[in-house]
């Protein structure tokens, strides 16, 4: 909306020269631990239920209570659900940040604020709506203890009225959030919303031009965070052993999975679990358990973030070399070291791909939205078990912890794939078993599971040198043969890695390559570049590593290819430089952002335009 002139005197009853409909962002500034999350979710849901594409992003501190947090809701009629930097509507509830929050706004923005903060004295080019929250909360919430929480609901009522949200939808959203069991709490909060609405009706004439209008662009969609989506994906992929060690932003993946498992995976007859979840003593143990469990035949996974991945290095190398499946979700946060634990980054691409000493290579999947978190969970297990190797699913804080409007998940059509496992009957049939022999010429050997009752089933798993019968060896030829086979196996894997999503425009000489959540900024940026600069671009969104032929072909077909990613060191580009034919490399350019916020389209556009000299 920064490109539109705002009339400062527009009012509800008349004089509105224009309206900005379904294209704005709201930012709610609060203190963490004040329970504003519920109010924010209800606001977001109300917009969603009105059929308007919406996204919500929580910017929170690494702290339990008392520090500033900001929640941004973006409504966009075109369906752009990436982050937008400019704030059109501020709800200033946090005295500590209010001043700075207000000073940062573009002229013409609207501000709902706690009346005693007197923010209206700061600027004259904004639309100010003072609300006496403390006064309004008293009659609706006699219990003093609850006022801090209920107070937040009042801004839902105020904002809802000012934007013209449908209060029936808001009521639905509220009661859905609280559920039947907390009906009393829901009533209390509904009263607070109505108090806000009533106050706004009586005392706050509309001055800004932001409006919500019903659309039909969210029909059939769901709202979910990526971690929950991945968790559900694992549950439907038939996960049996789950281990973890808490770390932001990945904890909620296993925590929500525990909830789903309890609902969906308890044996009806016996009341017992068809899974095991264990909180380990550290990530090293967590991944060690996964390796042990997968070796014994379970579908096992763990979930972590950068610091945990660093601890897992030795075991992941063992998994690679001894050929043991493992599924590792890496919900990336800003590093190095502890870094910014509550900010997002695509910072572990190289460490995922090459983790551990010696020559190692690991497959990675790159989900970009909740639906892919769900489906790729299943693919990750199939790849891990077929190729008997650790697989990373590389998501990030933005995808994992924020609520996303998403397509509903499709029930898996393919049966669970357990890979080349020989049973006792198979062993009778084939006569001979050599654990690391390349029987099929694809680099992928056969394995047996412990407990298989057959004199030929056993083999000895080790991370030290081994020949094709799993016997100890230090011979040069045995070593080389084995690691060359591992390379062949990695090559075969390309057939199993999901194909990239791409669009090659005939007119475009420039391509954009990216993965994961970078998608949302790039899709919108391509639209900006086309509209504002008349430049058409093609795109290729990687869904996994190792890279497949499509990537090479795509680079061939363009004059220049920008690799867009969220880290300082151009890690995706570096990986491409390692793997792609040298003649292609001179075509590659880099666009990077690494400030820890979800990437936004304008940043991509600006950096693109700069490099292209447009």
């Amino acid at each position: 909306m920064s490109t539109i002139e705002v009339s400062p005197v527009a009012s509800r009853t008349g004089g509105q020269s224009y309206r900005v409909i379904n294209d704005w962002s709201i930012q709610v500034a609060t203190v963490n631990g004040s329970g504003s999350q519920t109010a924010n979710n209800i606001l977001m849901r109300s917009i969603f239920q009105m059929g308007i594409p919406v996204s919500g992003k929580n910017l929170f501190p690494s702290n339990i209570a008392g520090l500033p947090t900001w929640f941004t809701i973006r409504a966009n009629k075109h369906g752009w659900i990436g982050r937008k930097k400019e704030i059109d509507f501020l709800v200033a509830m946090n005295p500590e940040t209010a001043r700075e929050d207000v000073l940062k706004l573009e002229p013409g923005a609207a501000v709902v604020y706690d009346a005693p903060l007197k923010l209206n004295e700061l600027r004259t080019d904004l639309h100010f709506y003072p609300v006496p929250f403390d006064k309004l909360v008293v009659p609706v919430c006699p219990e003093v203890r609850l006022r801090k929480l209920v107070r937040n609901m009042i801004y839902d009522g105020v904002v809802g009225h000012l934007l013209g949200l449908d209060f029936e939808e808001m009521k639905k959203a509220l009661y859905k959030q609280f559920g039947a069991r907390k009906a009393k709490a829901a009533d209390l909060n509904w009263n607070a919303i109505q108090a806000g609405k009533q106050f706004a009706e009586e005392s706050l004439p509309k001055m800004d031009s932001l409006w919500a209008e019903r659309m039909d662009k969210t029909a059939g969609k769901i709202i979910i965070d990526g971690n929950s989506a991945a968790a559900l994906g694992c549950v439907f992929a038939g996960v049996t052993v789950v281990t973890w060690y808490p770390i932001t932003p990945s904890s909620s993946l296993v925590e929500s999975m525990i909830g789903y498992l309890k609902r969906l995976r308890i044996d009806k007859e016996t009341g017992k679990a068809t899974y095991a979840v264990l909180q380990a003593e550290d990530e090293l143990a967590a991944v060690g358990m996964v390796i042990g469990a997968s070796w014994a035949g379970a579908r096992a996974m763990t979930s972590t973030s950068g610091p945990g991945v660093s601890l897992m290095a030795e075991f992941v190398g063992l998994g690679y070399y001894a050929e043991v499946p493992a599924v590792i979700f890496d919900v990336q946060r800003v590093g190095p070291s502890t870094g910014l634990p509550t900010r997002t980054m695509q910072g572990d691409l190289l460490s995922n791909a090459l983790l551990s000493h010696g020559d190692t290579h690991h497959p990675i999947l790159f989900p970009s939205d909740p639906a892919e978190c769900f489906s790729m969970a299943g693919e990750a297990f199939d790849i891990a078990e077929h190729f008997q190797t650790p697989v990373f699913v590389n998501t990030d804080l933005d995808l994992g912890m924020n609520n996303w409007m998403a397509d509903p998940f499709e029930y898996p059509t393919k049966p669970i794939h357990r890979g080349k496992v020989l049973t006792a009957e198979d062993l009778d049939r084939v006569g001979e078993f050599a654990r690391y022999r390349d029987v099929d010429g694809d680099g992928v050997p056969y394995r047996t599971l412990p407990g298989t009752k057959h004199p030929k089933a056993a083999y000895f798993t080790r991370g030290s040198g081994h020949n094709d019968r799993a016997g100890y060896t230090e011979r040069e030829d045995d070593y080389v043969n084995n690691v060359d086979r591992l390379s062949r196996k990695f090559e075969t894997m390309k057939k199993w890695i999901p194909a990239p999503e791409m669009q090659r425009s005939e007119k475009a000489s420039i391509g954009l390559v990216y993965c994961g959540t970078t998608r949302w900024a790039v899709e919108e940026s391509r639209d900006q570049i086309a509209r504002e600069y008349g430049v058409e671009t093609s795109f290729l969104r990687l869904k996994g590593y190792p890279f497949t032929q499509e990537l090479e072909d795509f680079i061939h077909a363009h004059e220049r290819v920008y690799v867009v990613e969220q880290n300082r060191d151009a890690q995706l580009l570096a990986l491409m430089k390692l793997d792609l034919p040298v003649p292609l490399l001179s075509k590659l350019r880099s666009i990077r952002y690494y400030g820890g916020m979800p990437l936004d389209a304008r940043t991509v556009t600006t950096k693109f335009v700069e490099q292209e000299g447009l």
């Binding site: 060690g288 669970i416 009752k453």
Partner: protein
């Protein structure tokens, strides 16, 4: 030398197997290494008890000791993992397949240093497995540096004296939740065999710290883990014998002389008094006895502590009775209606 000190070739056990499947590859450890004797005891015990080789998972970390699973039970799956991390790998394997019998062999470097965190957490989870520490007071495989179990005042081959307090894994085991804790000596065939048999019968985690001299780096004068030192200072708490559930008890118990413990599988553990009366179910007494022995420079061996009936990891996890690893798709993938229900809730 081969790790198997052979029972006569044709002899078969109660499940009709001769000893061959219980043996493993030829050992590559030094001749006379205590670890070899322990491998022999494992072979003997599992053969005599008629344990099905395919039901065993042999697990280890890294070290001379951790190599030994290659030298016994050739028809069992084995996993020589990474240094100190056998507890995690074993815990995972047993979560995946609760029917497996986990036999874990580690070194004192594995257990008391790099992997001590995992060791402790495995204890508190009462993971149902047999955990053997082949304790030589040094890092054998990296050529003789002190381990954390080296006694204060013990001398390294180079002459360096250890000044630091040793870690007593048995004491730690008792404090932290192990439900069967024993100490033995690789040179004490009879005691070690009977203790290992009791471990096989125990439901829960059994921990055996076996003093196992390193002939190459820690068998000299001044070492407290040498054969001669251990022989001189070993003090057995009791005479341990074991009667498996499938055999009749032959001798009557002499009142007051023998403590008879019925184990989970119906086998009998018989502890014959040697000198003082010792009740291995008394935690405080166990801790006192170990601490006293340490003060007087004695190496206390025997069954130090046992507790029957505590929930194992499997009980705590509430898993189905069958191995999770091989549950069919119909039991691990909820139906389409379940997904439809979840989607509806999120609309």
């Amino acid at each position: 030398m081969s790790a198997a000190a052979a029972p006569p070739p044709k002899k078969v056990n109660r499940i009709g197997l001769d000893v061959l499947p219980y043996k493993g590859g030829k050992t590559t450890l030094c001749a006379g290494c205590g670890h070899n004797s322990i491998s022999e005891r494992i072979i003997e015990v599992l053969f005599e008890l008629g344990i099905e080789p395919h039901s065993v998972a042999k697990m280890s970390g890294i070290g001379c000791s951790s190599k030994t699973p290659a030298y016994f039970l050739s028809q069992s799956h084995g996993f020589n993992s990474v240094h100190g991390r056998a507890p995690a790998v074993s815990t995972g394997a047993l979560m995946a397949n609760r029917d497996l019998r986990g036999i874990v062999v580690t070194g004192d470097g594995d257990t008391a240093s790099i992997g001590i965190g995992q060791f402790i957490h495995m204890l508190r989870r009462n993971v149902p497995l047999v955990y053997i520490i082949e304790n030589n007071g040094v890092y054998g495989l990296t050529k003789g540096q002190f381990s954390a179990t080296a006694d204060r005042g013990s001398k390294q081959k180079s002459g360096v004296i250890n000044d630091m307090t040793p870690i007593d894994c048995c004491l730690m085991g008792i404090e932290l939740g192990a439900t069967f804790v024993a100490r033995s000596f690789s040179g004490d065939k009879k005691q070690l065999t009977n203790i290992l048999k009791a471990c096989v019968s125990h439901r829960g985690l059994s921990l055996v710290d076996v003093i196992s001299p390193c002939v190459t780096f820690n068998d000299h004068e001044g070492s407290t883990k040498s054969y001669s030192y251990v022989k001189e200072h070993e003090m057995a708490l009791h005479d341990v014998s074991y009667v498996p559930y499938y055999e009749e008890i032959q001798v009557d118990i002499e009142e007051g002389e023998v403590r008879d413990v019925t184990m989970h599988d119906g086998s009998h553990l018989r502890l014959k008094k040697l000198g003082r009366d010792y009740d291995p179910t008394n935690k405080r007494q166990a801790v006192d006895a170990i601490t006293d022995a340490e003060k007087s420079g004695e190496i206390l061996t025997g069954i130090l502590y046992m507790e029957q009936g505590r929930d194992t990891l499997h009980d705590m996890l509430g898993m189905v009775d069958e191995p999770l690893a091989t549950l069919p798709q119909s039991r691990v993938r909820p139906g389409p209606e379940a997904l439809a229900r979840m989607m509806e809730e999120l609309r």
